[in-house]
């Protein structure tokens, strides 16, 4: 059963008709099954985070639409979708447990239930002992786990994660990936996950949507046929290596294109500047 439908979603930034207007996302269409874990992967600036924000109702598409369970999205859906951000999106003046509880308070969950659900979620991410710490007292990995707990305790069917491990070192993200696989196998949520890491994408996802360079389109969707929770053995398997290589080939040209686009822009900018100097 399909829960998220993206229908020809496009997004442009900058004033209409201006030469500075950029198309970040160009007619991206994809259907996401209930309970699957889908990864968005692609070069920087390909619009994968933009599409995630549009699904979350945090950004508006220029054209096209997103349907959640058949209803068009036009704003956040806190009862259906929880979001984990790339950077630390914790409120620095609140303790860990109060951060986790805040979303429940927004949704007017009764106080006793709030406490129970928040403690449970912290337990699930292994941070029960840090309930009364402040975010600044935690490491990067712990902060992201608090964000995950905050998203989990909302009890939504859909979880969107925007490069949640991007700021972490490779070893920490490896462990976080394993934990996430275990956690998600239990909850049965629908998850859309943006990443730059090829290995992470293959290790976690049921399907991987590969984006092209700007303007971002969905180039192909690869399926990773492997049971959750995924074990260390899968990380070391030939199957993962093979899929990683396939992704590498698919992405390589796109990443080059992105860099060339930027290089060109830089050159013409420099030329314009030197022209200005000569005058």
């Amino acid at each position: 059963m399909i829960t998220i439908e993206c229908e020809k979603v496009s997004k442009s930034f900058g004033p209409r008709g201006s030469p500075h207007r950029t198309v970040a996302l160009d007619n991206a269409s994809i259907d996401i099954e209930r309970g699957e874990l889908l990864c968005f992967i692609g070069p920087s600036g390909c619009g994968k985070s933009t599409l995630l924000n549009i699904i979350a109702g945090l950004a508006e598409p220029t054209s096209g639409e997103v349907l959640i369970d058949g209803t068009p999205v036009n704003g956040p859906l806190p009862r259906k979708i929880a979001f984990v951000f790339q950077e630390s999106a914790l409120f620095p003046w609140r303790t860990v447990i109060d951060n986790v509880k805040l979303g429940l308070a927004f949704q007017q969950v009764p106080k006793g239930e709030r406490d129970d659900r928040a403690s449970e979620a912290l337990q699930a991410v292994g941070l029960a002992d840090f309930a009364n710490h402040y975010p600044r007292q935690l490491s990067g990995g712990m902060k992201q786990r608090v964000q995950l707990a905050r998203a989990l305790c909302l009890g939504t069917d859909i979880l969107l994660m925007d490069e949640p491990f991007a700021a972490l070192d490779e070893q920490t993200r490896m462990v976080m990936g394993e934990d996430l696989s275990v956690l998600l196998a239990r909850t049965g949520k629908t998850i859309v996950f943006v990443t730059h890491s090829l290995v992470e994408a293959v290790f976690l996802a049921d399907r991987v949507a590969v984006f092209t360079a700007r303007p971002g389109r969905i180039k192909t969707v690869l399926s990773v046929d492997e049971e959750h929770p995924r074990k260390q053995s899968f990380m070391k398997s030939a199957k993962l290596a093979e899929m990683r290589n396939e992704l590498y080939d698919l992405l390589h040209d796109e990443v080059r294109k992105t860099m060339e686009l930027r290089g060109e822009a830089g050159e013409s900018g420099a030329r314009a500047q030197s022209r200005g100097l000569r005058r």
Binding site: A82, F83, F91, W93, A105, F106
Partner: protein
């Protein structure tokens, strides 16, 4: 231990200044009319304290300060909040308020005396005017530069406009707002004392000037002593309230 060392040095500096004062005023090194000696000033100060002669003027100054600061903080926070509601109003009004802030408001004082009278009214009006700007500007910048990620996070969790204001905007903007309020309090105090010395019939500033004009410098210094004590009291009250509110928000 380090804190104790710091205190010790601070006390030594204070003692050194007082000793220098005493040294300069003994054996006629400095005309006692310009700088009376420490014991003479202390006697005057204690005398005023005993008779309560300082109280009517101190009360006038305090009253002016309290009213001026109440007006400035209410008005400044309110205007700041209204301006910070959209990017458009910020782009339009923030430069206007910042521009007006750079106008030397003291030049308005003669006009204020004409409008509000030579009594407390003109001092309150000027104090409130000068203190309004830092409060309004810091409220705008505090509310306008709340981390967009925090706003998005609260939105995704279903925060209503009211919940967003109390749980995200206000605590995030709080350090900036409190800094603006403190600055407003200090410059309101300074401008009230200053304008009392220009044209007034009462107040600490008025007393200081009239003692100065009648060459009663010992009494003048005693009044300056009261002004300094008042400034210290204001500062520690502000710190105390700030710490209290900060803890309340956490």
């Amino acid at each position: 231990m380090i804190a104790l060392g710091q205190r010790l040095v601070q006390v030594c500096v204070l003692v050194a200044i007082l000793a220098l004062w005493q040294f300069a005023t003994t054996n006629g090194r400095i005309n006692p009319l310009l700088l009376p000696s420490l014991p003479v000033v202390t006697t005057e100060f204690l005398g005023m304290l005993r008779t309560g002669a300082f109280w009517p003027d101190l009360r006038v100054t305090l009253y002016e300060l309290v009213v001026a600061f109440a007006l400035a903080s209410t008005g400044g926070c309110l205007v700041g909040f209204l301006v910070a509601r959209s990017g458009f109003t910020i782009r339009v009004f923030d430069p206007i308020i910042a521009g007006l802030y750079s106008v030397p408001t003291i030049l308005m004082f003669p006009l204020y005396v004409l409008i509000f009278g030579i009594e407390s009214g003109s001092k309150i009006a000027l104090g409130a005017t000068v203190a309004f700007f830092p409060v309004a500007l810091s409220t705008i910048s505090g509310l306008a530069y709340v981390d967009p990620i925090l706003v998005a996070a609260a939105r995704s969790m279903g925060a209503s406009t009211t919940q967003m204001f109390w749980n995200v905007m206000l605590p995030a903007a709080f350090p900036a707002i409190i800094a603006g309020l403190r600055l407003g309090l200090v410059i309101a105090f300074l401008s009230i004392l200053g304008t009392e010395t220009l044209a007034s019939i009462a107040g600490l500033g008025h007393e200081i000037v009239s003692f100065g004009e009648s060459m009663e410098t010992a009494k003048m210094f005693a009044c300056i002593g009261f002004a300094i004590l008042l400034a210290l009291a204001l500062n520690s009250t502000a710190s105390f309230v700030e710490a209290k509110v900060r803890r309340g928000l956490e």
